[in-house]
C-alpha cells in the first residue's frame, strides 16, 4: 500500500522523480546525470511523491527563456517557475534575485528568490490552476454537513468555482482576493475546525490501513507457523509408521491404512479451524467501515422517489382488488406463450385485467339522466346551405 500514492498514477507519464531512475524515460534519463540541486531544500510548492520528494517536469528541450542556455550547453540546467508563472534557470535566478526583490525580466512583476517553485506540469497553465486550487482548497474546506440544504451547498461550490475561475484567468483579481480575505475572516473558526476534521480523517484512514497491514502480517505468520507444525507432525508420523512396520508383526497394508485415516482426520479438523479464522479475519473491519460510510451518505441526502404523473382522477381502486391470477380463457393463449412472442410489444395480461376490472366498476353509481337538458345547445343546427353541422364546428368558424 505504501508505495501507491493518491496522485502518482496519473503523473508518472510526464514526470521524472528526482534521484530515482525511471524506466519509461530511460533514453533521456540515462544520458543525463542525476541532479541534486543545492537549493531544493528552500523551494516550497510542487507535487510531492510518496517518498516526500518533489516530482518535477523535465525534458531534453528545456531552454531558459532569459539566458537562452539549454540542456545541451548545460546538462545541469534546472528551470523553476516564478509566482507570475514564467520559467527561469537557476543561474539566472541567482544572478537576478540574490540582491533582493527585482522585476521579472519577462513581465516586470516584482519577484523574490524564495517564491520560485519547481515545475510539475509541462503546461504552465495547468501548473497555475493546480496551485490556485490547492490554495483555495485549504480555505474553502466547508462540507455538506455545514449547510442546511443541498441548494446552499451547491451555491457555495459554485462560488468557489467562480473564484477559482477568476484567479486562473486573471479576471477581477483584486476583488476576488478581497472576497477570499472576507471569507477567511468570516469563517476562520469553521475553516480551522474542518482542517482538524480533515486531518483526523486522514489519520483514521492511515490507522485503518496500518491495522489491516498488521492483521495481514499476523495472519501470514500464523499460517507459516501452522504449516511448519504440520510438516513436523507429518515427519513424526512417517517415522512412527516406519518403526512400527519394522517392529510390529501386523499386516503392513492395515498399518498404512490406519495411518492414512488418522492423517485425514487431522487435516479436516485443521481446515475447519482455518475457515473459522478466515471468515473472521481480514476485510471484516474494512467492510464495516465502508458500510458505515454508505450509511452516512444515505442519511445525509434524502432520496425521494420521483412521481412523473400526478393527476386528481380516481380510478375506482376501492372497488376491486386485482388477484395475481384468474381463471380466464381469453388470456390463456398469452399466458401460455412460453417464448413471449405475444408479449414482445410489452403486453401485460395484468394490465388488461386491471383495465377490465376498472371498466366493470367505472360509473356503476351513475344514475341515468332524466328529462330534457335546460339549455338547447344539444339541438342540431342547420347552416345556410342546408347541411346539418355540429355546434363545435360553428363556434370554431
Amino acid at each position: 500500500m505504501s508505495n501507491r500514492s493518491n496522485y502518482g498514477g496519473w503523473l508518472q507519464g510526464k514526470t521524472v522523480r528526482k534521484g530515482a531512475a525511471n524506466s519509461s524515460h530511460a533514453n533521456t534519463r540515462s544520458s543525463t546525470p542525476h541532479v541534486q540541486s543545492t537549493s531544493s531544500t528552500i523551494f516550497g510548492g510542487g507535487i510531492k511523491d510518496p517518498s516526500g520528494r518533489v516530482t518535477e517536469y523535465f525534458s531534453m528541450e528545456d531552454q531558459c527563456p532569459v539566458c537562452k542556455s539549454d540542456r545541451y550547453l548545460n546538462p545541469k540546467l534546472r528551470l523553476l517557475v516564478s509566482s507570475c508563472y514564467h520559467k527561469m534557470c537557476e543561474s539566472c535566478i541567482d544572478r537576478l534575485f540574490t540582491l533582493g526583490p527585482a522585476p521579472c525580466p519577462i513581465c516586470t512583476k516584482v519577484l523574490r528568490k524564495l517564491a520560485f517553485q519547481p515545475q510539475t506540469f509541462e503546461d504552465l497553465e495547468v501548473e497555475k490552476e493546480v496551485a490556485i486550487r490547492r490554495r483555495l482548497a485549504k480555505e474553502f474546506n466547508k462540507r455538506r454537513d455545514d449547510f442546511d440544504d443541498l441548494r446552499e451547498y451547491n451555491d457555495y461550490l459554485q462560488e468557489v468555482e467562480d473564484i477559482a475561475f477568476n484567479l486562473i484567468n486573471n479576471i477581477d483579481v483584486q476583488e476576488t482576493e478581497a472576497k477570499i480575505a472576507n471569507y477567511k475572516a468570516a469563517n476562520a473558526a469553521l475553516i480551522a475546525l474542518n482542517m482538524q476534521r480533515e486531518e483526523a480523517y486522514a489519520l483514521a484512514l492511515k490507522e485503518q490501513e496500518e491495522f489491516d497491514r498488521r492483521e495481514r502480517e499476523a495472519r501470514a505468520a500464523q499460517l507459516a507457523q501452522e504449516e511448519e507444525q504440520e510438516r513436523l507432525e507429518r515427519e513424526r508420523e512417517q517415522n512412527e509408521l516406519i518403526t512400527k512396520l519394522e517392529t510390529s508383526q501386523k499386516d503392513a497394508k492395515k498399518l498404512v491404512a490406519k495411518a492414512r485415516a488418522s492423517q485425514q482426520k487431522r487435516k479436516s479438523a485443521r481446515n475447519d479451524n482455518s475457515s473459522l479464522l478466515g471468515g473472521m479475519g481480514f476485510g471484516a473491519d474494512y467492510a464495516k467501515l465502508l458500510k458505515a460510510r454508505t450509511n452516512k451518505a444515505k442519511t445525509s441526502v434524502p432520496d425521494e422517489p420521483h412521481v412523473p404523473l400526478q393527476d386528481d382522477w380516481y380510478g375506482y381502486e376501492d372497488f376491486y382488488a386485482l388477484r395475481p391470477s384468474y381463471d380466464d380463457i381469453f388470456s390463456e393463449a398469452v399466458r401460455k406463450d412460453r417464448e413471449g412472442i405475444m408479449r414482445a410489444g410489452g403486453y401485460m395480461v395484468e394490465e388488461a385485467w386491471n383495465r377490465a376490472l376498472r371498466s366493470a366498476v367505472a360509473g356503476l353509481e351513475l344514475e341515468p339522466l332524466v328529462g330534457l337538458p335546460s339549455e338547447e345547445s344539444s339541438a342540431p343546427m342547420i347552416d345556410a346551405g342546408g347541411d346539418v353541422v355540429m355546434a363545435s364546428v360553428q363556434s370554431a368558424a
Binding site: 380516481y314 372497488f319 384468474y326 376490472l357 367505472a362 344514475e367 341515468p368 344539444s378 342547420i382 342546408g386
Partner: protein
C-alpha cells in the same frame, strides 16, 4: 393499491373524464327530442330544395319520420356485425363501429347521408382507432360494389360529426371485468368460470343485443354489462352488486336506486331485436324518393349545388386576387410594413470588425 384508499375529496372518478360521459350521455327524453328536431329540420330543408328546382314536386313526397330513420340506422348496426364476422374483426372493432354509426346519426340525418355508406366508413375508422388496421384496398376489395373513395370521402365528415372523440368505453370489456371479478366472490365456487362458461356467452349475447338499443347513450358500460350478466345469472350478479355496494368508504358510493336502472336496462335489452327486413326495405324504398337531391350524384339539384359551390369558390379566389392587386397598387407589402429597427446604441455589439 388498497393502501391508497381514501383519496382526497377533490379526486374525480375516471369515467367522468371520458368524452363518452361528457358529450354522449343523454336522457331518453332528450334522445327523442334530438331525433325529432333533427328530422323536422332536415325535412324542411329538403322540401325547400325540391321546391327550388321543381315547384310543387314536394307535395306527394312522403318524408321519413324520426322513428323510421332510427330503424334504418339500427338495421345497419346489424350489418356491421355481419361485416365484422366476415373480416374476423375483434369485438372491440365491432362495438366501436356501432357506436360511431349511432353517434353520427345523432348529428346527421339519414336523408342526407345514407347509412349504407356511413356504416362502411365508420367501420373503417373503427379499425384504425382501435389499433386493428387493415389496408383500404383489402377492405374495399372484400365488399362488393365499393370503391376506396366511397369510404374515404365520408371519413372526415364522420370524424367531424363524432367531434373527433374516438375513444369509447365498451360494455363487453366491463362484462369481462365482472366475469373476472366474480372469482373474488367468496360464495362463488372456484371452478365457476370453467364449468359455467355458457353463462358468459349468454351475457355477451345480451351485451351485443344492447348495441341495437340506445342503452349506451343513457347508461354507463358497467351498468349495461351488469344488466346483461344479470339476465344470464341473476343470483351471481346480485351477489357481485352487493359486494360492490358494501364498499362505503370510497369517494363514489353505489346508491340503492341503481337497481331500478339495472331492471330498466334489462327490460330494454330483453326487448331489443333485429329490425324486420320487410319494414327496413319499405323505409329504404321511400328513402330513395325523399333523399336530399343535393346529395344525389347526377341529379339536377346536385349539379346546381356543385355549380353554386364552384361559383362561390371562384368568387372567393377573385376577391383574394383583387385584394392582392389592390395592395400591390397601393404599394403596401402583403406581409405588412417593415418593422422599425431599434436605434443603434453607442456600442454596436453586432459589429464584427475588429477596429
Amino acid at each position: 393499491m388498497p393502501e391508497t384508499t381514501a383519496p382526497p375529496a377533490t379526486k374525480k372518478p375516471l369515467y367522468e373524464a371520458s368524452t363518452q360521459f361528457k358529450h354522449w350521455r343523454y336522457s331518453p327524453e332528450s334522445l327523442i327530442n334530438i331525433r325529432s328536431k333533427l328530422n323536422e329540420a332536415a325535412v324542411a330543408v329538403i322540401r325547400q330544395t325540391f321546391e327550388a328546382y321543381e315547384p310543387g314536386s314536394s307535395a306527394n313526397v312522403s318524408f321519413l319520420n324520426a322513428d323510421e330513420e332510427h330503424l334504418l340506422v339500427t338495421f345497419y348496426v346489424t350489418r356491421i356485425t355481419q361485416l365484422c364476422g366476415h373480416f374476423r374483426f375483434p369485438e372491440e372493432v365491432e362495438a366501436t363501429a356501432a357506436t360511431y354509426l349511432k353517434r353520427f346519426y345523432l348529428k346527421n340525418t339519414v336523408m342526407d347521408w345514407h347509412p349504407k355508406n356511413v356504416m362502411l366508413t365508420a367501420l373503417f375508422l373503427a379499425t384504425k382507432t382501435t389499433n386493428n388496421p387493415i389496408s383500404l384496398e383489402a377492405y374495399t376489395h372484400n365488399i362488393p360494389n365499393t370503391n376506396p373513395s366511397d369510404v374515404l370521402d365520408l371519413e372526415f365528415l364522420v370524424a367531424q360529426s363524432l367531434g373527433f372523440e374516438f375513444s369509447v368505453w365498451h360494455a363487453h370489456r366491463a362484462l369481462w371485468g365482472i366475469w373476472l371479478d366474480i372469482q373474488s366472490l367468496s360464495d362463488v365456487p372456484a371452478d365457476y368460470a370453467k364449468s359455467q362458461s355458457s353463462v358468459y356467452d349468454t351475457a355477451l349475447s345480451h351485451v351485443r343485443a344492447s348495441r341495437l338499443t340506445d342503452a349506451e347513450f343513457i347508461y354507463t358500460p358497467s351498468q349495461i354489462a351488469l344488466a346483461a350478466f344479470s339476465l344470464a345469472a341473476p343470483d351471481v350478479a346480485q351477489q357481485w352488486l352487493e359486494s360492490k355496494q358494501a364498499v362505503t368508504e370510497a369517494p363514489t358510493k353505489i346508491p340503492p336506486g341503481i337497481l331500478e336502472s339495472i331492471e330498466a336496462l334489462k327490460k330494454l335489452i330483453a326487448d331489443a331485436g333485429q329490425p324486420e327486413t320487410e319494414a327496413v326495405r319499405e323505409v329504404d324504398r321511400r328513402l330513395r324518393l325523399c333523399k336530399n337531391p343535393e346529395k344525389v350524384v347526377g341529379s339536377k339539384a346536385y349539379l346546381a349545388r356543385k355549380a353554386e359551390e364552384e361559383k362561390k369558390a371562384e368568387d372567393k379566389r377573385n376577391r383574394k386576387a383583387m385584394e392582392v392587386e389592390k395592395a400591390a397598387a397601393e404599394g403596401t407589402d402583403p406581409f405588412g410594413d417593415e418593422l422599425e429597427r431599434p436605434k443603434p446604441s453607442l456600442v454596436d455589439y453586432d459589429d464584427d470588425d475588429d477596429d
